[in-house]
């Protein structure tokens, strides 16, 4: 039997992984995630918080496996059988035989018949290819005894679902760009800045990029995932040591995983939505892993909630609903309610103290601004040479994203995918920092800097020199709400609320709701404006106007944990369901919604100036 493969992890102990996952861990493209930090610049405030996307992805995979396996073990035989049969029927509907014929091309193996009966897949024949692909020791470790598995086809479906889920978890952050969201935000801001260059090739390509409904890291991640699995297929096809029959079976399995992943990317529309929710929902593997991992890495949460208890009590059950394509759910148990409450409090603490720390927000925003500026400056000299393999400019990042999106998956070879992966794997935090740091040296030695260069130098001094250049107008909640009060009083004076928003009847409910939230009739409305589409406009305009008046100012929005909305808990004995929001007594407070930083070299009177500038901007917008 093959050797059991394990990774040591400070959070989850020894994490088991399959042979196929081992292949992924041995690729340059997946190893790129070692050099993408989970929390961008937060290590400048919490020096030990240097969690990589690599270990977070592995941790998420482990938690996802536990949710899946424990849920199945805790469920009734009837439900488990129904669940696996329903997923088996979906797999039946995939056009696997057609894809296999395409993969094999001229080398049509007669052994295809071994796996199909009149184009209908014979699941139980896949057991041997599964063992070869995933490793018998992994399969033995991740499966459990149940009489329903006397039907070998259900056993096969179970193993395939588990491996697909694990891949989905491992690759959920695959497309993240350097410093996670920061570069992505910078690219989005670049598009906004290029509004006067509509004829440029770059503008057109960016516009095309934003005709995709998902975020850039999701678009990139999905395409990289697809290419990775195609590459795995190529590796199997080229392997002379595997006999033809087994090769066919292995290709079938990879094709099924590809189809399941494509289906999972449809999120709530997916026929595998219950599996999707294990990775992304109110209480999921992603959130559990980052809360434990980032909490510990920041020395904020030493032990944390008893997530082991939460995970052990998950249960698979049906979900009666007319609106979803999947009628099953993986439910946490009401018996672990206290631990779930504690987990949410940990997460809340992490957002408040680490992610929304006034300095962390400042450093992240400064880096984002520097990247945007660099991309903008390079946009005019962008040669857009997608053939070069060395990436030396920040704008090369855009070229390689466009190259990935346009990558023709119908015309691939093992060599060209691997070359592309090596090229893409250059895109890391360290790569980006090394390019930006060259500019620091240039700026320091610049004899007559322009006003814009002066400002950039100030930003770089703060970020790389450890010199405090920008101060936050507030650090504590009450200071923020005092400022908000002043702002709102002034807005009332100009009759802002009556004329601008209340005449739009659609917002009436929303305003009522926000009023209840904030328990102050005035604050609800302004928060609505700030937290939505308006903020970016305010940010750009107010920063620009303040700078024109000699005030270096930065406006940064906080990022809050998504409120728990849909989570249902199951009572293990009775299968009764309870809505978490109805039974939990835990209260979460709303914190600082946005930060304003001002340059050290201006007086504290900046606050009054800011109020005036914001007001003038609002009045002009009303006209």
């Amino acid at each position: 039997m093959d050797k059991l493969k394990l990774i040591k992890d400070q959070i989850h102990g020894n994490i088991i992984f399959s042979k196929l996952e081992s292949e992924l861990f041995s690729s340059a493209i997946f190893n790129r995630l070692h050099y993408i930090l989970q929390n961008s610049m937060s290590y400048l405030v919490y020096p030990t918080n240097k969690t990589s996307r690599f270990i977070h992805s592995v941790g998420t995979c482990d938690v996802a496996s536990k949710i899946y396996n424990n849920s199945l073990k805790n469920s009734s035989k009837e439900i488990l059988q129904k669940f696996l049969l329903s997923k088996k029927n979906i797999i039946f509907s995939f056009e696997i035989s057609k894809q296999l014929e395409k993969d094999l091309g001229l080398k049509k193996y007669s052994c295809i018949e071994h796996y199909f009966d009149k184009k209908e897949l014979k699941f139980k024949e896949l057991l041997e290819p599964l063992e070869k692909l995933f490793g018998l020791s992994f399969i033995n470790h991740c499966t459990f005894n149940n009489t329903i598995f006397d039907d070998k086809s259900l056993n096969v479906v179970n193993i395939i679902l588990l491996q697909s889920l694990r891949f989905f978890a491992l690759l959920h952050d695959y497309g993240h760009l350097p410093f996670s969201h920061l570069t992505e935000f910078a690219i989005e801001s670049l598009f906004d800045k290029l509004t006067d260059s509509k004829e440029s090739e770059l503008y057109k390509k960016l516009k095309n990029l934003f005709t995709y409904e998902k975020d850039i890291h999701e678009i990139v991640g999905e395409k990289l995932t697809y290419l990775t699995l195609l590459n795995m297929k190529e590796n199997i096809l080229k392997n002379e040591n595997i006999d033809a029959k087994l090769k066919c079976g292995m290709l079938i399995v990879i094709n099924i995983i590809i189809e399941i992943l494509q289906e999972l990317y449809k999120a709530e529309k997916s026929k595998f939505y219950s599996l999707y929710m294990i990775i992304s929902s109110d209480l999921d593997a992603d959130r559990i892993d980052y809360t434990l991992r980032d909490g510990l890495a920041s020395s904020l949460i030493e032990k944390g909630a008893n997530t082991d208890r939460i995970l052990k009590m998950f249960k698979l059950d049906s979900f009666e609903s007319e609106i979803y394509n999947d009628s099953f759910r993986f439910y946490p148990a009401i018996e672990s309610l206290n631990d779930i409450d504690e987990f949410y409090l940990d997460r809340d603490k992490l957002y408040k103290i680490v992610f929304n720390h006034h300095k962390v927000k400042k450093f992240d925003y400064i880096l984002e601004k520097i990247i945007t500026e660099k991309l903008y400056n390079e946009s005019e000299i962008d040669e857009n040479d997608s053939n070069k393999s060395e990436l030396n400019n920040v704008s090369d990042l855009l070229s390689i994203i466009f190259e990935l999106i346009e990558y023709d998956t119908n015309n691939i070879t093992q060599g060209n995918i691997e070359n592309f992966f090596y090229k893409f794997s250059q895109i890391t935090d360290y790569w980006l920092l090394s390019i930006i740091k060259k500019d620091v040296v240039k700026l320091i030695t610049c004899m007559e800097p322009t006003q814009s260069q002066e400002f950039t130098k100030e930003l770089m001094d703060e970020l790389f020199g450890g010199i405090k250049k920008f101060k936050s107008l507030w650090k504590r909640d009450f200071e923020f709400f005092n400022f908000l009060d002043s702002l709102i009083e002034t807005m009332y004076e100009i009759d802002f609320f009556q004329k601008r928003i209340l005449d739009e009847s659609i917002f009436a409910d929303l305003i009522d709701d926000l009023n209840k939230d904030i328990s102050n009739s005035k604050k609800g409305i302004i928060l609505f404006d700030f937290l939505n589409s308006e903020f970016n406009d305010w940010q750009i305009q107010v920063e620009k106007r303040m700078r024109e008046q000699g005030f270096g100012v930065l406006l940064v929005k906080s990022k809050f944990a998504k409120p728990v909305k849909e989570l249902q808990l199951i009572e293990l004995n009775t299968d009764r369901k309870f809505k978490y929001s109805n039974i939990s007594t835990t209260k979460f407070r709303r914190g600082i919604m946005f930060f304003i930083y001002y340059s050290n070299n201006v007086a504290k009177s900046v606050e009054q100036k800011l109020l005036e500038t914001i007001m003038n901007f609002i009045i002009e917008k009303r006209r």
Binding site: E188, F191, Y212, E213, I506, F535, N536
Partner: protein, 76 residues
């Protein structure tokens, strides 16, 4: 803010205020045809914008039909 975002935002607001039921994909197609992008601001996708209205129970998404219904306060 660039025109493409404004177009997108106006179209979404029009759909929410005028249509009782609308298909999500049709909304996206309409935005693209009108010259907009699938963002209403940098870092803010159409889906996130709609999620916000959904979180306030102004609209409800029905995944099976890929449609939004106005004024339904239900959890499916």
């Amino acid at each position: 803010m660039c025109k493409e975002y404004k177009i997108a935002k106006e179209i979404v607001k029009e759909y929410i205020s005028k249509e009782t039921i609308f298909i999500y994909d049709e909304l996206l197609e309409n935005i693209k045809k009108s010259g907009g992008v699938l963002r209403i601001a940098p870092k803010y996708t159409i889906k996130q914008y709609l999620d916000f209205y959904e979180s306030k129970s102004i609209i409800k998404y029905i995944p099976k039909n890929d449609e939004y219904i106005r004024g339904i306060n239900s959890n499916g």
